[in-house]
Amino acid sequence: MPKEIAPRNEMPRQDPRVRRRNFNEVALGYDLETALAEAERCLQCKKPQCIAGCPVQVRIPEFILALREKDMWRAVEVLKDKNSLPAICGRVCPQETQCEIQCVLGKKHEPVAIGRLERFVADWEREQGMRTPPLAPPTGKHVAVIGAGPAGLTAAGDLAKMGHKVTIFEALHAPGGVLIYGIPEFRLPKDVVRAEVEYVQSLGVEIRLNTVVGKLYTIDEMLKDGFDAVFLGTGAGLPMFMNIPGENYNGVYSANEFLTRTNLMKAYLFPEYDTPINVGRKVAVVGAGNVAMDSARCALRLGADEVHIVYRRSRAEMPARAEEVANAEEEGIIFDFLTNPVEIHGTDKGWVCGMRCIRMELGEPDASGRRRPVPVPGSEFDMEVDTVIMALGTQPNPLVFSNTPWLERTKHGTVVANEENGRTKMERVWAGGDIVTGAATVISAMGAGKRAAADIDAYLKDPNGPWWVGPE
């Protein structure tokens, strides 16, 4: 008996004319009534497709059913059984390419807004005060997790629930990794991150801040000094530059620096906070991923008159989430497609004053499957800009490897690890997240953290058997 399908419930959001000048959260969240109405749209499929799309396998129909029945704690329990950071995932996961793309409703209608419901349930729990789930009895095993980002926090949370003692080592002065330094407040409020980190701590996980592994201890020392296993989740934190002339002029930032100053160090509150940032009148952000969108939208909020996204391919190839591109556009970010910088101009005092670009056209597909951008001869032109932000992606940070030559790495600098279980070529060392895949998403890092945690648990219970199974 086919029932009538209501349209997907819109997410209330701050007016673009207002939000372009503040750092408050853009998406305001459903109220209970809207959440229940959206939950009502779920078909409760006998063979749900959505779960397969989720890197951490959240039992989506089950939590939505609990919500529909207004059994909120049950909804929380189902959600958090698989996902230790649901308020974060509900905000920053690319649901449209993961769970929601699989939703059966999406074939003829719009898919259930799974991410928005996840966010609703997680926010509800945070308002109530989070409950700590039952933990398995202590196993006496101690696991070191390097990096307090999405992969590390997830692995740590799961391992703690399994009864292992876990210590996270974090290089920065605040836990959260990219959730804290990279993703801006208006997309992911830091209170939300703090609350979910506190939840992980409530499971018994110890977080040691200001601790740089690779400098303070090597991985070998950790394994020798009482840790039974090490999980490496240090992410991809090394910025890439274009290596074009003028790239070191004052006013050229890596997106990492720009976002770290803004988000972790709260430069948008300077001088109440001590870390400054320079944002000129006209800003160019080079690149078109989520980091580029975040940088552009931060620059606007920091007072720039005009912010451009400069991208060498076309709209169709942009790697950023469609929703964030739409948000940026609504706020007035200007997109310059098929445009590539070739040189940055500076004043005689060393400050950026312009950027020479060349027009591009799309040729044959390249290794990434996207059409390769080719410069159009003679099409160079100058843009007047006073700030340039390079958002070209990142590479794994090599610092942690400096004393660990036996940890095998690829030519891209990523760690060689079995995707199924996270095992590296070094015994008792697992790795997951961007350090293995290169820059990817929060949820894929969490998925890797989860798989590694399961394997670490299995290994600690039965360490016999071959360590490395798979391709040499």
Binding site: H173, Y181, Y253, T260, R261, P271, D274, L399
Partner: protein, 283 residues
């Protein structure tokens, strides 16, 4: 954590703190640095390690009051704690037996040159020290430097103490003297390190400098500290802080050090006003 156990005013604007940081003290080596935060709202500031005591688990840091953060830092005393301290960061100095080495320390740069000179002396080098400051009251650690050098030349720019000279003058004389100098280290303000490098270059003496670029995380993540050495962009925090002084693009380094000059001024003025207002309410 990071409790200050001793404080010394080396000069009116130069302060020394001994800080509890056992793990860093256990692991650090000469030439490395730490990043400190004064408060929850504070910047992350890189400071070179001036000394360490592995037994006591303590580090010595020396800094000059120039902006808001260092002004705030200078108000702390024994028993106070830093909000955070991260390290050791950067690559340690390559300590070897080179032969005769000259250690040039200018102003606050005398502090980081000290442990390097000590290590080089212990490694069997003949160590000649040159320390200098603008004026007498900015000079410190003459006695400590004497204990780790075979010869020590002291100068002040204005002649208010010891020899009236810039540190490059005695350095040039040493280079010209015909004595074989195997390596020179220079640590101090960028302009001083530039001229130390220019002084030794015609003589072909390898010269190592410790660059003090602007940094945020200090682990290679942000790229703020980029410098050009030998035509290549390098990150001061992970590839340095020591580099070949003859290869450094000094003009770029000095331009990049000025990135936040106006904001630093604003922050300092605002801080001084707040302090002033606070003093008035107290009295």
């Amino acid at each position: 954590m990071y409790r200050i156990t001793a404080r010394e005013d080396l000069a009116p604007v130069t302060k020394l703190f001994v800080v509890e940081a056992p793990e860093v003290a256990r692991k650090c080596k000469s030439g490395q640095f730490v990043i400190v935060r004064v408060s929850e709202h504070g910047e992350r500031v890189p400071l070179t390690i001036a000394d360490y005591d592995r037994q006591r688990g303590e580090l010595t840091i020396v800094f000059q009051v120039v902006g808001k953060t260092t002004a705030e830092l200078s108000t702390l005393g024994v028993g106070d704690s830093l909000a955070s301290l991260t390290g050791p960061l950067g690559l340690p100095t390559e300590i070897e037996k080179y032969g005769t080495v000259v250690m040039v320390g200018g102003g606050v740069g005398i502090a980081p040159i000290f442990p390097i000179a000590r290590d080089l002396k212990e490694a069997g080098n003949y160590v000649i020290g040159i320390i200098g400051a603008r004026t007498r009251e900015l000079l410190f650690w003459e006695d400590r430097m004497r204990t780790v050098t075979d010869e020590l030349i002291v100068c002040t720019d204005d002649g208010s103490y010891a020899r009236k000279a810039l540190v490059t003058e005695p350095l040039k004389e040493l280079c010209q003297s015909g004595r074989t100098i195997h390596r020179v280290w220079g640590i101090g303000p960028a302009i001083m390190m530039k001229f130390v490098s220019l002084t030794t270059k015609p003589f072909g003496i390898q010269t190592i400098v410790s660059l003090n670029s602007i940094m945020v995380d200090g682990t290679g993540m942000c790229g703020a500290c980029r410098v050009v050495v030998g035509g290549r962009t390098r990150f001061c925090c992970v590839h340095g802080p020591e580099f070949d002084g003859h290869e450094v693009d000094w003009d770029l380094l000095m331009a990049r050090q000025r990135i936040y000059l106006d904001k630093e001024k604003l922050a300092l003025e605002r801080y001084q006003q707040l302090c002033e207002a606070h003093r008035e309410t107290v009295h």
